[in-house]
Amino acid sequence: MIDLKFDTVSKRYRIFKESETEGKRNALGRLSRRLRGNWSDFWALRDVSFEVSRGEALGLIGQNGAGKSTILKLLYNITTPTKGRIRVNGRLAALIEVASGFHPDLTGRENVYLNGSLLGMKRSEIRSKLDSIVDFAGVSAFIDTAVKRYSSGMYLRLGFSIAAHLDPDILLLDEVLAVGDAEFQSRCLERINQLRRAGTTIVFVSHNLGAIENLCDRVFLLRHGEIYRSGAPRYVISEYEHMLTSMPAATAKGLIDVHDAPASEIVSVIFYNSEGRRTTMFATGDAARVEVELMVHEPVEDALVEVYFYSIFGNIHSHFSTEIDGPTLDLQKGRCIIEFDCPQLPFEVAAFNIESSIKLRGSSFNEHVDYKRTGSINITRGKPVHGAFHTPHTWTVRSVAPPDSDHSTPAVVRNVD
């Protein structure tokens, strides 16, 4: 039984070039640009064909702009294809951005009705599920309070809880695991797995390769609007990792001042696990060794090497620099490898983009000899994280016996790590 079918689907976005003098929404300006042909076409998808069987979980991976979200948007009918046909067999729902349909002035209860009906639920359905939605979100005490008084966590939980109560035949998931804390994310996964066991067909878009591997039966790697690789999750994910590390790294132009011909270049930043195997998948608490390979064209004195961990939204999570605790680097001409060792990666479950830079001591924050995006890593569930990060720790009990007892030696009852 086929639930979803793409038949040579293409999607074109026409991008009109804006000039300084003409407003974007100005009718005359648009008309003249249209007549002059002053636009460029961007094909977000090119002749994509595939089928998804009932109960199958399909994962879509690829870099930004590869076409993952376009596939979801087409399936969800938010926009239409330029060419080709899409066949959908079943009631379809999307868990895209929880809480995007909330109105701050309305109470939690009113918002449940509003958001629920936006997602296609009937009022009677919402009424019967209201208690369950509120319990699941853990906001029972505040259900008649305007949601603008909610904490961001309550907001997210309520939004997710509504969406989690949809019972579609086909579920679309777009980066649902990118928001909220680890506990919230594990509840998302819990519910997704439950729907999956109940035979729901799933299309899952995520940068979290660990979650993709755990959840999906089949994965597509998209590149430039085409299915570049497809098959078993393990195989496609390793292809993707290979693609990321072997690709000429993109420099972040515009944001960072990079010289045209740097005196030294970052060639690659490669992560190894505790067994010395090259990988981009780690669990929280795993040891990681990072090799930063440089090609030095001109000798550089007193250089600094930095490794940045960015969230997929572009927030900096961690920044390690030889300036703070590393050796003095006087780089000689030729190849050079600088190793960074981390006995326990402290990060919670998420994907991180890795960026790296060489700079001179004393230069300002955006003056780099070279600066590159060098790939990404994925952190899966490992050591427990309750809060923002994991840190090695132990528990000890100092007195177990009553104070009048002879045995006053401290007893270690539980030892973590």
């Binding site: 100005n26 009718a27 948007k73 926009t79 349909g101 009906s117 936006l118 009937k122 009022r123 853990g138």
Partner: protein, 292 residues
């Protein structure tokens, strides 16, 4: 509290009916009116919830709350009465000017509030349009429902004025229902065209307040149709609002049946326009999320 919910297994329940449909590139020839209407009907709960939401949000955190629904037509009536009855001596066919103007302002405000709010509806709710699927015409429709609510509230005031001026209703007041239907069709048609165009060209949003003001003066709201010179009248009645507003006043204040020629003309124009505007709206809807 949140902790305990982790183990809370939610039931998975779903209906047996699996819809089966095909998504194709947009084409005017593929327009299927019945399919679109039945889809819209599936979303009637959303129309209801969103309309309630419009009304609630409007009056939330305002001291006077629902009183604003009365205050707007009253203040317009007072201003017009002052200017056109005391200063300019506008004819009102022997009816006290205040109620003469108010009766026409009621359907006019319904129309102008609908069009003004609905025009920006798709742009204002862009976060819905780009994130969630539902028939997009629901957004303008809910503003029309909210305006109809204001109309109903202001009607209570009209009833009070009728009693005060001792004007008796006749059986012809039943014509109000078909007149309102025609008016709603017309308001919806204009709203669909404007809101869909506003997605691409924000000029519409700028032009609408001005357009509505001019339109008000081209409609017998503050003056009677009889005040329009006879030689211009055949041109003047091409404005569908003429037949609607004049009929509304005839059946309520004069207790007469409406001028069927004018009303039928408005009805035919409204229905045809509604069909065409829906076709246009649906064509724009296909790629709306790419532009909004």
């Amino acid at each position: 509290m949140a902790k305990s919910a982790i183990n809370n297994e939610l039931p998975v329940s779903r209906g047996n009916a699996r819809p089966n449909y095909e998504i194709r590139p947009p084409s005017i020839f593929g327009f299927n009116l019945l399919a679109n209407l039945s889809k819209l009907l599936q979303y009637k709960d959303l129309i209801w919830t969103l309309s309630l939401h419009r009304i609630k949000v409007r009056y939330k955190q305002s001291v006077l709350g629902i009183l604003w629904a009365f205050l707007q037509p009253i203040s317009m009536m007072l201003v017009f009465t002052f200017i056109f009855s005391l200063i300019a001596r506008m004819p009102s066919e022997g009816i006290p000017y205040a109620i003469f103007a108010f009766t026409a302002l009621l359907p006019w405000n319904y129309f102008s509030t609908s069009v003004a709010n609905a025009t920006s509806s798709l742009v204002k709710d862009a976060q819905f349009v780009t994130k969630v699927y539902f028939p997009r015409e629901i957004l303008p429709i809910t503003y029309i429902v909210a305006a109809l609510f204001d109309f109903a509230v202001a009607s209570i005031l009209l009833a009070g004025l009728l009693i005060y001026y001792k004007i008796a209703l006749t059986v012809n007041v039943l014509y109000v229902a078909p007149i309102l239907l025609v008016l709603t069709c017309f308001a919806l048609a204009i709203s669909l065209i404007f809101s869909a165009t506003q997605v691409r060209f924000r000029d519409i949003g700028m032009a609408v307040p001005l357009l509505l003001q001019l339109w008000l003066f081209a409609t017998p709201v503050i003056y009677p149709l009889s005040a329009v010179p006879a030689r211009w009248r055949s041109f003047y009645v091409l404005n569908p609002m003429v037949g609607i507003i004049e009929s509304f006043r005839d059946v309520v204040l004069k207790g007469e049946p409406p001028n069927m020629r004018y009303l039928m003309f408005s009805a035919v124009v409204s229905v045809i326009l509604l069909f065409v505007s829906y076709l246009y709206f649906k064509r724009v809807e296909a790629t709306m999320a790419d532009f909004v």
